[in-house]
Structures are given as C-alpha cells and as structure tokens.
C-alpha cells in the first residue's frame, strides 16, 4: 500500500477508522454480546455498589477482576520485557520479527488490565491521589506497583510508537521515537522486574491467610521468574494464532522465521521453568512443606507444581529437541493454565483456606473479565490490520545501517 499518496491527515484517519474485513463473524458476535452485557453490568456496579455484581466478602476482599485480570493477566504481559531484552540487549536478531506484536500485546494488556483495576476500586474517582502527590504511601507495595504500571505503559507506548509513526507516515517523529528505544527498553526491563515481583509482594503481609505451601517470603522472586515463561508461552500461542488469523498482514520473512522462533522460545521457556522449579523446591524445603503435603491442599499443590510446571517444562524440552512445533504449542498451553492456577491459588483459592469455603466469582464478574479480554483482542486486531506490526515497515523507514546503530 502506498501511504505517501493520501492527501491529508484527517481523511487518512477517517479512512483507517472504517472496519476492515468481515463484520459479521462468530467471533465478532460473541465479542459484541459479551461487551454489551458487560456494559450493563458495569452500570449496575457503579450505581448500586460493588456488592450488587461481585461475590462480595469481607474475608476475600479482592475478587476476580483483580486476581484474574490484574494479578494473572499482567504475568502474561511479561513477554514484552523478555523479548525486548533478547533483541535489544542481547542482540538476538532472530527474534526481531516478534518484537512489535509482543510489545503491542503487552501495551494493550497493561492498558486494559489497569482498566480492570479501576472497575474493582471502590472509590475510583480518588485514583488520582497516589499520582498527583498529595498522599504518597511510600511504604506501600501497591504504590510501587501502581507507579510502575503507569511508567511501564509509557515505556511500552514509546517502544511501540515507531510502528504508529510508520502507519501515519510521520518521518521525523519516527526518527525521534526510534532514538528513544534503547533507553525505554532498559527502563522497561527494570520496571518489569520490580512490578512483576511487586504483584507477588502485595501478598507478603497476608502471611497468616495464605496456605503455607503457597506463601513464602520468596513470592516476589517466584512471580518474577514465572512471568518470564508465562510471557513467552503467551507469545508462542499469540504467534500460532497470529500466523493463521493475520495471514494477509504477515510478511514473508516473518512467516519463514516462525518455526525457528518457536523452537528458540521453547528452549528458553524450558530453561526458565527449570530454574523456577528449582526455586520452588528450595522454598518448599525451606518452609518445611513436607508437613503439609499429605492433605487435600498438599495434593492440589502437587497438581500445580508437577502437572502444570514440571510436565510442560519437559514437553518444551522434547519440543525443541525434536523440533516439534505442536509439542511446543501444547507445552505453552499447559504452562499458561499453570500460571493461571498459581496466581489464583495464591490470591483466591488458598486465601483464607482454613475457612473451608470455596470462593467462586459470580457470572457477572466472569462476563466483565471476558469483555475486557475481548476488547483487548479487538483493539489488537484493529491495530494489526492497519499498522506494520506483523508486516515489514514501509520502505522509507527501513535503514539497515541506521537500525543497527540505533538498536543493535
């Protein structure tokens, strides 16, 4: 497509805003219904209070929106900091084709999951308080996480903006934002390290409430390490789906590099999961976990650690040894379920485990959570269909020599 020909900025935006592709598809219909239902639920939530919509409980103050969309969802956005680390810091050029899609996914994840946080806040109109500086709770882990979310969203936006400027043919701004890339990548990795572990640190003071098999002072480190393979597993699934759904938008080089990238990611995942398992075992022994293992909670713990960490770790291993992409995809799927289990075990299932009641979200909570994910997918699709995310950047933006000086 020759973007140089458009006459003005506003007609360009108008043209681009029009939907591309079929409007009536099964996916679109399900998404539309879910989002519409979610809007109605949210109106009820803001007029009648949280209790009218969520499974309210004084014992379990954080519901599905925080525990699933924020605590769990953000772990899957970890792919961005890992992939930017590999490409920009370590110079693993092999992975460059997936950088843009990964950053875009993470940017949207942070935007919409932070949005989900707003839905769960009891008094969201006060959300500005910890930002404008009239009341800095400096000793609070949540304060740190909130600030890091905001700063990281900014970093991700800058990391993604070369793509936006290429889409809008803004040559000089592109030069400027591209020159910031390395700085924001480094800043972003530091922020991610801290807020991925910070999400775990939110539960440090809930020591008497979380089952001793899941609670340890090392939760922050475990959250950080697991966010690495959580993010990469999601990248694997995202690439698998993207290759089918966005055939038209994907460049030939991207398509050709697909299997190579998958195998490489599988290798990194299996190594990281191995490190994670090692840490988990250390923590288990350190906390005298054997005392608790012979109980229903103990068996559930074994299901999580063996079934959803050890087994996918081994499948990843076989996948890259035998160069079998399907094994890699299966392993990625299992480890994604494993991360969801781990985060929900800490934040929901074993939270106040001694009460012996299982806390289920209401259907309304699930509909809103699903709607948040649908909106994220729709925006992702809108951007991918217009901007060079999977595709090659336009000719004017490719300057091989310069790219290497800037990025490499």
């Amino acid at each position: 497509m020759n973007r140089e020909q458009h006459t003005g900025f506003i007609p360009f935006i108008k043209r681009e805003l029009k939907p591309k592709g079929k409007i009536v598809t099964p996916f679109n219909i399900i998404a539309a219904i879910t989002i519409f239902a979610a809007i109605i639920i949210l109106v009820i939530r803001f007029t009648n209070g949280l209790g009218s919509v969520v499974h309210a409980s004084q014992e379990r103050p954080w519901g599905f929106w925080i525990n699933f969309n924020v605590i769990t969802g953000v772990a899957f956005a970890g792919g961005a900091f890992v992939v930017t680390f590999m490409v920009y810091i370590m110079g693993m050029e092999k992975y460059r084709p997936i950088v843009r899609a990964t950053i875009l996914y993470a940017l949207l994840a942070y935007m919409f999951y932070a949005g989900a946080l707003l839905l769960d806040l009891g008094r969201p109109w006060k959300v500005i308080n910890p930002i404008i500086g009239n009341s800095f709770g400096l000793s609070s882990v949540l304060f740190l996480v909130a600030w890091h979310f905001i700063l990281y969203m900014g970093s991700l936006f800058i990391e993604f903006s070369p793509t936006i400027t290429e889409w809008a043919t803004l040559k000089r701004p592109r030069k400027f934002v591209a020159s910031l890339t390395l700085a924001v990548v480094i800043f972003g990795i530091a922020l991610s390290t801290l807020h991925q572990s910070g999400l775990g640190a939110l539960f440090l003071m809930a020591k008497p409430k979380i089952h001793p098999l899941w609670y340890s002072e090392f939760i922050p480190i475990l959250f950080f390490i697991s966010s690495i393979f959580a993010g990469l597993s999601l990248v694997i699934i995202l690439e698998t789906i993207g290759r089918r759904v966005f055939k038209k938008e994907m460049s030939a080089t991207h398509k050709n590099s697909h299997s190579n990238i998958m195998i490489g990611l599988a290798r990194i995942c299996s190594i990281t999961m191995f490190v994670y398992l090692f840490m988990v075992i250390l923590v288990f022994l350190h906390n005298k976990g054997l005392n608790y293992i012979n109980s229903p909670w103990g068996y559930w713990y074994l299901v999580e650690v063996i079934g959803f960490v050890l087994i996918p770790c081994l499948i990843f291993l076989f996948g890259f040894k035998r160069l079998n992409l399907n094994l890699v995809r299966i392993a990625a799927g299992i480890s994604i379920i494993g991360i969801i289990l781990n985060r929900l075990n800490i934040s929901t299932f074993t939270y106040q485990w001694y009460e012996n009641t299982i806390h289920f979200p209401t259907w309304m909570e699930i509909v809103v959570s699903a709607a948040v994910i649908f909106v994220q997918i729709l925006v992702f699709r809108w951007i991918v269909r217009r901007m060079p995310v999977y595709n090659e950047p336009p000719g004017w933006a490719i300057d091989v020599k310069k790219e290497q000086i800037i990025y490499n």
Partner: protein, 287 residues
Amino acid sequence: MGLKRRNFLKTLGAVGSTLTVGKSFGATSKKEEDIEFYGILYDSTLCMGCQSCEFACAEHYGLPNPEDMPEQGVVRKPNESRRLTINAFNTSKGEQYMRMACNHCNSPACASACLTKAMIKTDEGPVIWREEKCMGCRSCIISCPFDMPKFEYDSPNPKIQKCRMCFELLKEGKKPVCIENCPADALLFGKRRDLLEIARARIYADPENYNHEIYGEHDVGGTGVLYLASVPFEELGFRKDLGKVSYPELNKTFLYSVPAVLILWPAFLLGLRNSRVKENETKPIKE
C-alpha cells in the same frame, strides 16, 4: 562522688537500651521514639457481655444497633455496619467474653499497605481511615492480620468501616465512647505504657484468676488494644500463629531491594549491551 551508684546504673541502663533500640529501629528518629501511644486495656475477667460498648459505638457513629447477643459457638465478627463486637466463648473456666475490634497496632499492616495514606497511625495512637484519600483498593483488608477493616460493598460511595478509637474525642481530651459507657470497668483508657503496668499489676495481684499473658504486648509487634483474660487466648478465638514481628517488616526486604534494582539493573543492562556492540564493531577492524 558526683555520680551516685543509682544514677550511674540508670545512665548505664538508658545507654544500653538506646543502643539496642538504635540497632533494631535504625531508621526511626529520636522524636518518634518520644511519642507515646494511647491505648485500651480490655479485661475479659470483668466483662459481663452487656454490649453497652456496642450500643454506644453504634449510636455515636450512626450505625444500626446490634440485634444479636453474644452466644457461645457463634463468632459475631465486626462488619461494615458494626465496628465492635463482644463474643461469648465456652472456655475451661466457663463462659467468658471477648472484645473484637481494630487492635490499633503499633506498626499497622493496613497503613503500610495503603498507597494513598488514607489509613494512618496517628501520633496519638489510633489507626484511622481518611475518606478523602481512600481509593477503595482494599489492600488494607488483605494485609490486616486481624481482618478488621470492613468495606461497604453495597454502596456506590463505599467507605472503610473500622474502629478509630474515637480519634476526634481523643483530640478534645475525652475518652472513646465504648470506654465511657462500660458499666463493669472492663475497659480502661490511657497511655499504652501505663496500661501495660496496670495489666501486669492485675496479674501479679491475682495470679490465680488471670492467664499470665497480656495479648498485644508483643503480638504483631505490639498493639494499642491490650487484652487480659483468665484463660489462654486460643480459647477466646485468638490466633496464636500471627507472630511477634510487626507486619510491615514482611515487606521490608522487598521494598529495600527496589532502589538497588532500579539503579543497578539498568547500569548492568547498558553495560551488557555496550560490551556486545563493541565486540561487533571491533570485528571488522581485526579482519
């Protein structure tokens, strides 16, 4: 001799104690150490379970009057419409009552979890919630080892409900309403240090009647509300696995590592990247 033996010992003791305090609370300034918190002493052996404190609290804060009575086998927890409850327990010494409300910890988990400083430990001692700051994230509830802050789930403008030791009355020089209205003198109000002495004196004067422990003296780093009872506190619905360390200590290692990571990590990454780029640059020259 200018320095009498007694004074010498006193000075020695003072120096010794400041040395140990200085070690464990390196960050607190001298001024903070001078602050003396007010507290409440609840003596379960004197409590008749009449609920006068509950009624007084409900009336003072415009909350609904309690409709249920203390009953053995039922734990009436405080919730968004009551800040204070009295419960009955069947113990080894017959029916005993126990108060349940915010314990006003010396170093409260809720305040350290709060990202807007809506929950604060005042210099006077009460831990209070401030409506204009709170954004309703409920991490105070997650962190509180006693589960005391309560959230109004059914309100579009929800508040956190919890005992505030009648902070406004305290500032006017008055006592909290529950204490003013206790007909059995089971509740005492005063400086925490004095209350501890009174509690010890009571145990000492009547060692048969009391369980020799003051709950809250050291638990979770010390609480503003102190408890005396005739039976071990486990029998009165207390958890004994909460530990003696203050809860914000659990976050300390993580929070201390934050500046280190923010400074060292980018420097390391930049170094890593630059060393690699230089390697690439020098290659063609060598060839």
